[in-house]
Amino acid sequence: MLTGCSVANNEAISVSPACRLFCVFVFLVCLSLVSFAAKATEIDTLIRHIDELWRGNTSHATMSMSVQTQRYQRSMTMEAWSRGSDYSLVLIRQPVKDRGIATLKVKENIWNYLPKINRVTKVPSSMMSGSWMGSHFTNDDLIKESSFQDDYNSSITFEGERNGRRIYEITSLPKMDAAVVWGKVVMMIEQETLAPYKAIYYDEDGQLMRTMIFDQFKKIDGRTIPMRMSLQPEDKPEESTVIVYQNIAFEVALDDNFFSLQSLRQRR
C-alpha cells in the first residue's frame, strides 16, 4: 500500500525523459508486487499460525470455563479434542449436573449429547446465534472458526511498536458474499512470539461488540500459546466468559471414527 503511494508520487514529480520514467515505474511496480507477494505470504502464514495455535493437526486439551453474568455465575471444566478445523468434540466434566454433556462439531454441524435423557440433538441453523453452554460464545463461534479464512479478507494494518510491544495488527473484513456475523475483526499479535493478545469484534455497522483478551502465555511444542481467553461483551460490562486451558497436547493419536455420533453417545 505504501509502495503504491510512492509510485504515484514518483510519477507526479518526475519530469525526466519518458524512458527513464518508464524504467522507474517498472522498477517500482516490480518492487510493490514483490513486497505485496511477501506481505500476502506473511499474512497467510500469520493467519494460519493463529488458526492452528490451539489446535495443531490434532489436539487434546482440558480447560475450565467460567461465565459471569448479571444473573448467575458458573464455572465448568471441559475436555476437548480436535482434528484440523473441521472436527472437534467438547465434553463437560464438571459440574455434576451438566456432566457428560458433549458437543460434537463436524464441519458446519453441531450436535449435543444429553446424558440425562440419553439423546443426541442437532443444533438447527436457526439456533446458531444462541449461547453455547450458557457462555457468551455462540454456537456460531464454534462453526465460523473453521471458515474464517474463507469468509474474511485479512491484511496487516499495523506493524511496529504499540504500548511498548512490537506487534502486528491484522484487520479482517468479510468477503462480499460471505454469511458472517462480524463486520470487522481486529487482532493484535506480538511480533516476537507470534501469539495473539487481543481481538476486537465489530458488527456490520462498525459498532464495537466484544473484546477478547489473551494472556497467560505458555510455550508448548515450540509455540507460544495463550492459556487464558477472556471474552467481554461490550454492552454488558459486568459480564464475561473466561476460558483457561489447564493443559493442551498436540499431535495426539485419534481414531478415524472418533468424531462421530456413535462416539458422541458412547463417551461418558
Partner: protein
C-alpha cells in the same frame, strides 16, 4: 298566524299523503324497480354490517377469551426482551385473588428452547400454564385438534424423574412430523446457566390460536417448567379475566394501583423493571384499531351503497316529475301552493323509501339470520382458518345481527333518498305554469 298556517297544512296532509301514495302506483313497474334497487342496497348494507359485527365479535373473543385475557401483568424487561429473570413473585396471585374476588387470574411462564424429535430440531417458545387456573381465564386449553389435553406427568422414569406431557401448536406438529404420543426433547439454557434438558411426551396438538404459538409454541405445566428451567422465584405473566368486561378501564386502574403498592411494600430486583398492567386493547393494538375502524367502515360503505341505490331513486323522481309537468302546471294554475306540491313530491320519495326500508330490512334480516346460523364457510380452502393482525380466525365467517344496525341502515337510506329527491323536487318550485301547459 303561524298556528293557522300549520293547521292548514295538517288539514291538507291526508289528501297530500293520499295523492303521493296513489302517484307512486301510477307507474307500478318503475316504482317496483326503484324499490327493489333501494331494498337491494339496504340488504347489502345490513349483510355487510352483520358480517363486520360478526367478525368484530369473533375478533374480540379471540383477542380476549382464547389466549390473551382482558388484562395482563408483566414486568418491563419481560415486555421488552422476554427477560427470563423478570419474574413477579408467586405471592401476588394470592394477594390479588383476596383483594379482587370478581376476577380470574392465571400465571404463565415463558422460555426459548430447542426442540428435537427423531430427525428434526427447531427453535421453540416454551409456555407454561397452570391448567386449572388457565381454564378459568382463557379457552386456550380447550382448542384441541388431536389428542387429549393433559399436562400432568406421563410416566415416572426409573431414576425418579418425571416425564411430563406437552401440548404443541399445529404448524409445529406438522413441521416436525409429530403426533400425540410422540416423544420430544427440549434443550434450553436454564435460569442458573446450566443446560436444561428433558424428554417429553406429546399429549395433544392445539388448533391455531395465534400464529406465533401455532408455529413454535410448546405448552407445559408450571411444575414441568420449573424442573426444566430451575426458575422457581416467580412467573412472567398474569392473564386476568374480568367477570364484567365493561369495567375494563376501572379495574385496570385499581389493579395497577394495587400492584404498585405491592412493589413498594416488597421491592423487586431492579433489572427486571416495574410491573406493567395492560388491557387487551393495549396488548393487541392492531385489533383495537381495527374495531375503531370497522364502525366508520360501515358508515362509509353504507353511504356508497345507498348513494348508488338512491341514484335510481333520483332518476325515478326526475322522470315522474318530467312526465307530470303538465299536470303540475294545472294544479298550480288552479291555485295549489308550490310548497304543498313540493311536499307531495317529497312524500312520494318518502313512501318509496319507507316501502324499500320495510322490504329491505325484512330481506336483510332473513339473509343475516341465515349468515348468523350458517356463516360463510371457507374451511374447504382454508382448513386452519386465516390469520389477520396476529390473530387466527376460524374459517367460518359468521354474521351477527345487531337490531340497531338495521335501524341505522334504514335511517341512513331514508335520509339519503330524501336528500336525493330534493333535486327533482326543486324543479317544481321553478315550474312556470304558463310554459308547461
Amino acid at each position: 298566524m303561524s298556528a293557522f298556517h300549520f293547521l292548514t297544512i295538517f288539514n291538507r296532509l291526508p289528501i297530500l299523503l293520499f295523492m303521493a301514495w296513489r302517484n307512486i302506483w301510477r307507474n307500478p313497474v318503475r316504482s317496483v324497480l326503484t324499490i327493489s334497487a333501494l331494498a337491494g342496497g339496504l340488504v347489502m348494507l345490513i349483510l355487510y354490517s352483520a358480517l363486520l359485527e360478526g367478525m368484530t365479535r369473533q375478533m374480540v373473543r379471540f383477542a380476549t377469551e382464547i389466549s390473551t385475557g382482558h388484562i395482563q401483568v408483566q414486568r418491563q424487561a419481560f415486555i421488552e426482551d422476554q427477560d427470563l429473570y423478570a419474574t413477579l413473585p408467586w405471592s401476588y396471585i394470592q394477594t390479588l385473588e383476596d383483594k379482587f374476588p370478581d376476577i380470574q387470574i392465571a400465571p404463565r411462564l415463558y422460555a426459548a428452547g430447542l426442540a428435537s424429535a427423531e430427525n428434526t430440531s427447531t427453535g421453540v417458545l416454551i409456555k407454561a400454564v397452570d391448567p386449572q387456573r388457565e381454564a378459568l381465564v382463557t379457552q386456550m386449553l380447550s382448542h384441541v385438534r388431536r389428542g387429549e389435553l393433559n399436562l400432568a406427568t406421563a410416566e415416572m422414569l426409573e431414576d425418579g424423574l418425571a416425564r411430563y406431557n406437552l401440548v404443541i401448536g399445529a404448524q409445529l406438529a406438522k413441521n416436525m412430523n409429530l403426533e400425540p404420543g410422540s416423544e420430544l426433547v427440549l434443550v434450553t439454557q436454564a435460569a442458573d446457566g446450566s443446560i436444561g434438558n428433558a424428554l417429553y411426551r406429546i399429549a395433544a396438538i392445539l388448533k391455531p390460536l395465534e400464529p406465533g404459538f401455532d408455529r413454535m409454541g410448546v405448552l407445559m405445566s408450571i411444575e414441568a417448567y420449573q424442573q426444566l428451567m430451575y426458575l422457581n422465584d416467580g412467573f412472567h405473566e398474569l392473564a386476568i379475566k374480568l367477570d364484567d368486561a365493561t369495567q375494563l378501564e376501572d379495574i385496570q386502574a385499581v389493579l395497577d394501583a394495587e400492584i404498585r403498592s405491592l412493589t413498594i411494600a416488597q421491592p423487586l430486583d431492579e433489572l427486571g423493571g416495574l410491573p406493567v398492567v395492560r388491557n387487551w386493547r393495549q396488548l393487541t393494538p392492531a385489533i383495537a384499531d381495527l374495531l375503531e375502524l370497522s364502525t366508520s367502515m360501515v358508515l362509509i360503505v353504507g353511504f356508497i351503497v345507498v348513494g348508488l341505490a338512491s341514484m335510481g331513486m333520483l332518476n325515478t323522481m326526475l322522470m315522474a316529475i318530467h312526465e307530470r309537468r303538465h299536470e303540475f302546471g294545472v294544479l298550480l294554475a288552479v291555485g295549489m301552493k308550490r310548497r304543498w306540491l313540493l311536499l307531495m313530491v317529497l312524500f312520494e320519495s318518502f313512501f318509496l323509501s319507507i316501502v324499500s326500508a320495510v322490504v329491505g330490512s325484512i330481506a336483510g334480516i332473513i339473509a343475516s339470520a341465515y349468515l348468523e346460523e350458517h356463516g360463510i364457510d371457507f374451511s374447504a380452502s382454508l382448513p386452519d382458518g386465516y390469520d389477520w393482525a396476529g390473530i387466527v380466525f376460524e374459517p367460518v365467517m359468521k354474521g351477527y345481527l345487531e337490531p340497531a344496525h338495521v335501524l341505522n341502515a334504514c335511517m341512513l337510506m331514508i335520509v339519503i333518498t330524501l336528500i336525493a329527491s330534493l333535486i327533482p323536487s326543486w324543479r317544481i318550485v321553478r315550474l312556470k305554469p304558463a310554459e308547461v301547459m
